[in-house]
Every structure is written in structure tokens, then in C-alpha cells.
Amino acid sequence: ADLVLYTSQPNEDAQATVDAFKAANPGLDVQWVRDGTPQIMAKLNAEIQAGNPVADVLLIADTVTLERMKQAGQLLAYKSPEAANLDAALYDADGYYYSTKLITTGIMYNTQAAMKPTSWADLAKPEAKGLVTMPSPLASGAALIHAQTLAGVQGLGWDYYKQLKANGAVASGGNGGVLKAVASGEKAYGVVVDYMPLREKAKGAPVEFVFPKEGVSAVTEPAAILASTKHADAAKKFIDYLLSENGQKVAAKLGYIPARKGIDLPPGYPARDQIKVLPVNASEALKNSEKDVKTFADIFGIKG
């Protein structure tokens, strides 16, 4: 293959992205491997250990992992010309990784639920007692960023998580599990990434998604080139394509908030300026990630 992509994007999305790229660059044979972030990272690291990483490009959920790889010298720096169209916060200044979209984390609820939440604080109210579920930072990169983000917000912070725990909230698994739990009515409220409930709702599932008024956290599904790549040119083309107008339109069509300015948001989302994205610093987040995971785990009594 001319290019090997490791990604944690959902299957259909990965296929669509690759298909669109191939259409734009005929003749390039792109192979992709899709798996959950833990699996992809285990696979990649084992390959690196064995001295023969197969992947050229990585497209995964969170910046933190890429920041760690950057610091370990496993990534290749590349200044993409398309970066100019991105918010500076959305890419690494040295060119090691570029965000491709925004995946925000908000609140979903089952339409049978009595209370319609509008803010994070609502989840700590007595009406939501025992009815809240959220992904665990141990299983989901987005969930870690989310926790780190909220922890830094005035008026929420780790105390908010302690209130949630006291209110009977559970934290487990990834976003898919939260979606199922709320859609099936096992729980009423869930903390979850935006596109999942929006898609399900479009298919008729009894769920709603809200962007809480305090603001949402976001992961950015960054892409990066591995230092060991033997196909640097193709890899660079791929990065450029992801950030290009066409590439970003594909992302929007798949139901994500595109990273590039000036592209319309997919249906079901409020206007871009109504979504308040709470800021987070990737290298800070990386530095503290172990500590934060532990704090979170201690609050929710998760071992490990």
C-alpha cells in the first residue's frame, strides 16, 4: 500500500474519508485499520517495540496521546499550508498534529425523562439521582479531556464530579455504552459526544442532545504522521486533504463539526457561534493526565 492509516473513527466514517481522499488522489492505494483507541495504541506500540511500525498516518480521538508521541519523538513535523484556515488552538505550533474536526461532549437524555437538562449543574440535581451515566476516562480519550476541561471551569471543578458521584452517577466504558444505556432507558441522562445521539435521533431513537449552557468540552480528532513513515509524501497529501475544504465538507456531511472555519455545520447542530467550547491546553492536559485520571478514578471508586 502507498499509505496506511490507523484510525479510531467509526467504520463508515473512516471508509468515507478514505474514499473521498482516493477520489481526490487517484492511483494512491490507501489501507486503513480501524479500532478503539486502546486497541489501536496497543497495536501501534507493539509494532514500534518490534521495530516495524506499519502505520504512516494516525487519526485518533484526542490530542493528548499525540502530544505524548510527539514528546517521545515518534511523530514527524509537517507544516501544512492548509493550517492557515484553522484556529491556532486546533493544531500544534511545530506541525506535529492537526485537528480535523470538533467533537463536543454534552448531555443526552431519554425523551421519557422527567427533567429536561440544560446545564451541567442539572445533572447534580435530585431529579437526576441515580439516572446519570458517563464514559470513563480510562476507556475514552474524549472523556478524559472532558473531565479535565470541566475540572478547570469555575463553579464546576472536581467538586462537581463529587456531587455527581453523590448523586449516584456512574462512569463506565466508552460513549457507545452511554448511548445505549440512555436510548434503552436504563439511564435517563448521559454525558456523551455529540454526533452519536444526533445520528440516532435522526433515525428515530427516543433521545435528545443538548449543549449545556456552561459550555462543552471538545476533542478534535487530530491527525499526525509517524516519524517512521516510508511514505511521507502521500502522508502529507493526506493531512492536507483532511484539512482542505473538500475534506472538511466530508466531515460535516458525516455529522461532525468541521475544524476549518467557514464550513457549514451539519443539520441538528445549533449555529457555530452558539456552541461555547471550553478551552483546554493539550500539553498541560498531558502533563496532568495521569494525576487527573487518578483523581477521577478515586472519586468514582474505579480501580486501576
Partner: protein, 564 residues
């Protein structure tokens, strides 16, 4: 050792080197490679002081308790079925036996989810009865007991097949003699039948235990919400937060799993040691007890078990494959077969996955049978001092979570194989080898226990007829351990067909397996597609089992586990 092959020992000279080579490649090499990386990374990355973390020990404890209880549940369920269906005059044995195999085919996470659904607030069943708990009520399955229960359901077939093979080797007159001695049915069971079929029962229990130790799907879904971590889920969370110390931690946790499974194996050895199971003379007929007035009750119990462990999860699976979206109430107006259309006609991966999984499973099941018959023969007949070591080494890969084993194989094969320069990474061969390694124990157990019950004079008679080792193997040994061999093939096939965690890391374009395809669909939110594919897998397995049924007359007696 070389001498022993001259020593009138019935094994050919090459058997010992063969077994050692097999064990080396399937177990020692991958485990050793993993340990090497673990140690290296512990040295440079400064392994965190994992062992002082009380959470780890809690996880060890939870792993042990869930696995032990799960094994008990599997023994009760699988053992009960095996006894009732093999020894008693139950009607519809073939059907019951057939259906009992199927739950193994439903992926553990599907079973777990359907049970949660069945017992949760949106359960149609409970709603209909007016018993549905309120929205958000605590889920009783999120507990040690819940995990163990589902372990039991998932692994019951392992015990069933293994014990059944043991029961079929039971000499009829031994049972009759006990009854005439005045022993009640219960006493006969306790004093004669169970002790004599102990190798099969213990093998089944041991493999169920080891299987529970390494299970990921069930504790991931049922354990984590209740903050119950087992070693496999702990390992997964280590991989999720991949850091410099991860390999060291994972190696250490894997070593703990290995120790747990060796503990299990030692218990098994203890139980079986110093006893004689060699059936003297002819067996070929099974005693049948009459249940009399109890028959109705037994049949009702059996069918309700089938309903709970098969029909309910399967219904849930079918229902979610027909639902347009998750959580949409299913009714005639909402049901749609769009998911099936999508899976069958649009998703290219479906065909690839079916082809790959069927090929891999068949190749693994039959390939391993060859290996395990030879190894089993060596272990039971060889009287080698290495035998316990070899059994333990065969066992460990199955106990490790698939992700760990897969990592070990990536470490081994990501770079081209030295000397030959051939690279199998990214091809289907690496998955095949990993399957061989992982399912070795599943295949070996029933065969070893069958050899334990084997009357040696049957082989001696064949030798004197002039039959060399290969000949005896084909004509006498394999046909006589046929029920066990059949169990071994069917178990490996069923488990491999469904397998996810090993192939999840080893697949690449074109080598997707069914497990990977289902997981990927499910993980990316296409629950109905995932369910539809699962349903198709079950349908395929049922079709293959029916095919086997047609072949049953040509196969040695007892091979087809639902036929008596």
C-alpha cells in the same frame, strides 16, 4: 528421553520433539517475547509500583471470585445438561443438545446486553408483566454475582461437551453393578458416574475457569459500572492510557493471570492424581436411567434453561437487528430489515469476514485436533516428567486476554521472520497462528481426558496386529476418543468463529474476522447492523450444525454432540 522411544513405549521417536516444538512455538515463544518486552520496558520506563497498588490486588481477588463462581455456574448448568441428556430418558435429547451449544455462539457482550435489557427498565418482557423497574433503577447484574452468572451461561457448553465425552466412555456394567449393589440413582451418580467421568468434568471445569479468567466482554459491560475490575479489564484500561510503563504493567498483570490459571491447573492435577480411570474392557454402551414421574419436571427445567440462555438473548438480538435505531420500541410499524439488506448487499466486509472466519475456524479446529491428539497422547501415555509443565504452558495462552496474546504476536511477527525473511504480519497466517496458540487448551482438554479413560489393551491389540503409530492413531485411537475429538473440534470452531480480541489487533485490510466486523459496527454506533450480522452468524452456525447432522451417520459414534 531418546531412549524411552526404544523402550517399548508406545510412542514413536518423533513425538516428544514434536510436542516440545509445538509448545515452544505456540506458548513459550510468544509468552517469552512478551515477558522480554515487559522486563525491558520495566527497566527503562521505570515501572510504577504496580504491586503496591491495592486496586490491583482487588482486581486479582475479583478475578478469582468471579471466575470461581462462574466456573461453578458453568459446572452446574453444563454438567446438569450433560448428565440429564446423556444418562436419562429425556425426550428430545437431540434438540436440547443442539440448542444448548448455541449460546456459546452469541458474543458475550450481546448476551450481557440482552440480559441487561431483559432485566432493565425497558424490558418488554417485564413491562408486559408490569414488573419493569423504574427508570434508572439499579441493575442487579452489575455485580460479582451477575458477572459469574453470565460467565456460567457463556461457558456451560465447555463443561457440557467435556463431561459428555467422559460419560460416553463409561462402561455400562459398572453402573449396573452399583445399582444392583443397592445404590440409589443419586449414590450411583456420586460414587460411580462422577468419579469415573471425573477427568471430563474436571477438564471442563478447568477450561471454564481459565476461560473466565481471560474473559473481557462480560466484566467490561457488567463490572465497570459497579467498579468491579478484573485483570483483563484492568489490562484494557492500561492500554487505553498508553504510557511508557504500559508494557511492563501489562506483562506483570499477564503474569498474574498466568499464575491464576496455573493455580487452577494445579488444583485440577491434584483432583485427578493417583486415581485410575482406565476403563477395563469394553465400553460402547451407555447406561440409561429412567426418570419415571420426574421426567416431566426435568424436561420443563431443561427447556426453561434453554429459553433463558438462548431464546431470550437471541430474541433481543433479533429485535435489535430489526429496530431502526437504538431504543426505538419495536413493533410491526417500526421493524425494518434495512440492516440485513445493508449487511448482505452493501457491506463488502460481510463476505470477507464470513470467508475469513469460517476458514480460520475450520483450519484452527481441525489443525489443532491433529496437534492435540498427538500432544494428548504424549501427556497421558508418555509418563514424562515434563508433562505437567507442558500442560501448564498449553493452558496459559487461553487464559490471557486476547489483546495481550495479540500484542505478543505483533511483537514476534511485526518484523519479518529472521532467517527466512518472510513477513506474515498483516496476513491471515498470523491470526491463524495466534488462534492455534489461544485455543490450544480448549482443544487439548477433552482429548486428554478421553485418553485418561482409554483401556490400554485396545491399543496393544492394534500394535500386535502390526499397526504402526500413524495407523493406530487413525484406526483405533481417534475413533475411540471420537466424542472428545468431536467436542474439541466443535468447541474450537464455535469459539473461534466468534472470537474478537485476538483478531482485533491482528487483522488488517482483507483479513477481518466476524468478531472484528461485529465489534467495529457496534463500536461505531451501528448497533442494528452489528446485531444483524450476529444473527447471520448464528444462522450460519446453525446451518453448519445441520450439515453435520446430515453427515452424522458417516462419522464415528458420539462425534456429533447432540446425537446419542
Amino acid at each position: 528421553m531418546k531412549r524411552s522411544s526404544h523402550r517399548g513405549n508406545s510412542q514413536p521417536r518423533w513425538l516428544f520433539p514434536f510436542v516440545v516444538t509445538v509448545i515452544f512455538f505456540l506458548s513459550v515463544l510468544p509468552l517469552g517475547r512478551l515477558a522480554a518486552t515487559g522486563i525491558a520496558s520495566a527497566l527503562q520506563g521505570g515501572a510504577r509500583n504496580l504491586l503496591s497498588d491495592p486496586g490491583v490486588w482487588q482486581a486479582v481477588y475479583d478475578t478469582l471470585s468471579t471466575s470461581f463462581l462462574g466456573m461453578v455456574a458453568a459446572v452446574v448448568l453444563g454438567g446438569g445438561f450433560a448428565l440429564l441428556l446423556t444418562l436419562f430418558d429425556i425426550r428430545g435429547k437431540a434438540m436440547l443438545g443442539f440448542l444448548f451449544m448455541l449460546p456459546t455462539m452469541i458474543p458475550p457482550q450481546v448476551t450481557a446486553l440482552s440480559w441487561i435489557g431483559m432485566t432493565g427498565p425497558s424490558s418488554t418482557l417485564l413491562k408486559a408483566l408490569g414488573l419493569a423497574p423504574p427508570l434508572g433503577a439499579p441493575q442487579p447484574l452489575y455485580s460479582i454475582g451477575g458477572i459469574a452468572l453470565l460467565y456460567g451461561v457463556q461457558n456451560a457448553a465447555l463443561v457440557y461437551l467435556s463431561l459428555r465425552a467422559g460419560l460416553l466412555a463409561l462402561p455400562r456394567d459398572a453402573v449396573e453393578a452399583a445399582r444392583l449393589a443397592g445404590a440409589s440413582s443419586w449414590q450411583v451418580l456420586k460414587d460411580i458416574i462422577l468419579p469415573l467421568s471425573l477427568p471430563g468434568l474436571v477438564a471442563g471445569a478447568a477450561i471454564a475457569f481459565v476461560s473466565c479468567v481471560g474473559n473481557f466482554g462480560i466484566p467490561a459491560i457488567l463490572g465497570i459500572p459497579a467498579s468491579i475490575y478484573t485483570l483483563p479489564t484492568l489490562i484494557y484500561s492500561k492500554f487505553a492510557a498508553f504510557g511508557p510503563g504500559t508494557f511492563a504493567d501489562v506483562s506483570l498483570l499477564s503474569a498474574m493471570i498466568a499464575i491464576l490459571s496455573i493455580v487452577g491447573l494445579t488444583v485440577e492435577e491434584r483432583v485427578l492424581r493417583g486415581r485410575d480411570y482406565r476403563v477395563i474392557g469394553l465400553s460402547g454402551q451407555v447406561a440409561v436411567f429412567r426418570l419415571g414421574g420426574w421426567r416431566w419436571l426435568a424436561e420443563i427445567v431443561l427447556w426453561s434453561m434453554i429459553f433463558i440462555i438462548l431464546v431470550m438473548p437471541l430474541t433481543a438480538l433479533v429485535a435489535s437487528s430489526l429496530a431502526p435505531a437504538y431504543g426505538v420500541p419495536l413493533g410491526p410499524s417500526t421493524a425494518t430489515i434495512r440492516a440485513y439488506e445493508e449487511i448482505l448487499f452493501r457491506q463488502a466486509v460481510t463476505r470477507t469476514a464470513f470467508t475469513n472466519s469460517i476458514t480460520l475456524s475450520l483450519a484452527t479446529a481441525f489443525g489443532l485436533l491433529v496437534v492435540t491428539v498427538l500432544t494428548g497422547y504424549f501427556l497421558v501415555r508418555g509418563k514424562s516428567r515434563l508433562a505437567p509443565v507442558i500442560s501448564a504452558l498449553a493452558e496459559i495462552p487461553y487464559a490471557l486476554p486476547g489483546i495481550v496474546l495479540a500484542v505478543a504476536f505483533i511483537l514476534l511477527f511485526a518484523a519479518p521472520v529472521p532467517v527466512i525473511g518472510l513477513s506474515i504480519y498483516g496476513t491471515i497466517w498470523i491470526i491463524l497462528i495466534a488462534y492455534f496458540s489461544s485455543f490450544f487448551a480448549v482443544s487439548l482438554k477433552p482429548v486428554v481426558s478421553a485418553f485418561r479413560q482409554f483401556d490400554p489393551s485396545l491399543e496393544e491389540a492394534a500394535r500386535l496386529s502390526g499397526a504402526g503409530f500413524g495407523r493406530r492413531l487413525a484406526d483405533i485411537l481417534v475413533p475411540l476418543v471420537a466424542p472428545a475429538a468431536g467436542a474439541s473440534v466443535i468447541l474450537v470452531f464455535l469459539i473461534a468463529c466468534n472470537e474478537l480480541t485476538v483478531s482485533a489487533l491482528l487483522w488488517s485490510a482483507g483479513t477481518q474476522t466476524l468478531g472484528v466486523a461485529i465489534y467495529n459496527l457496534d463500536d461505531s454506533g451501528s448497533f442494528n447492523l452489528a446485531s444483524a450480522l450476529s444473527v447471520l452468524v448464528v444462522v450460519m452456525v446453525v446451518a453448519m450444525m445441520l450439515l453435520l447432522e446430515l453427515l452424522a451417520k458417516r462419522l464415528p459414534k458420539g462425534v456429533v454432540p447432540w446425537q446419542s
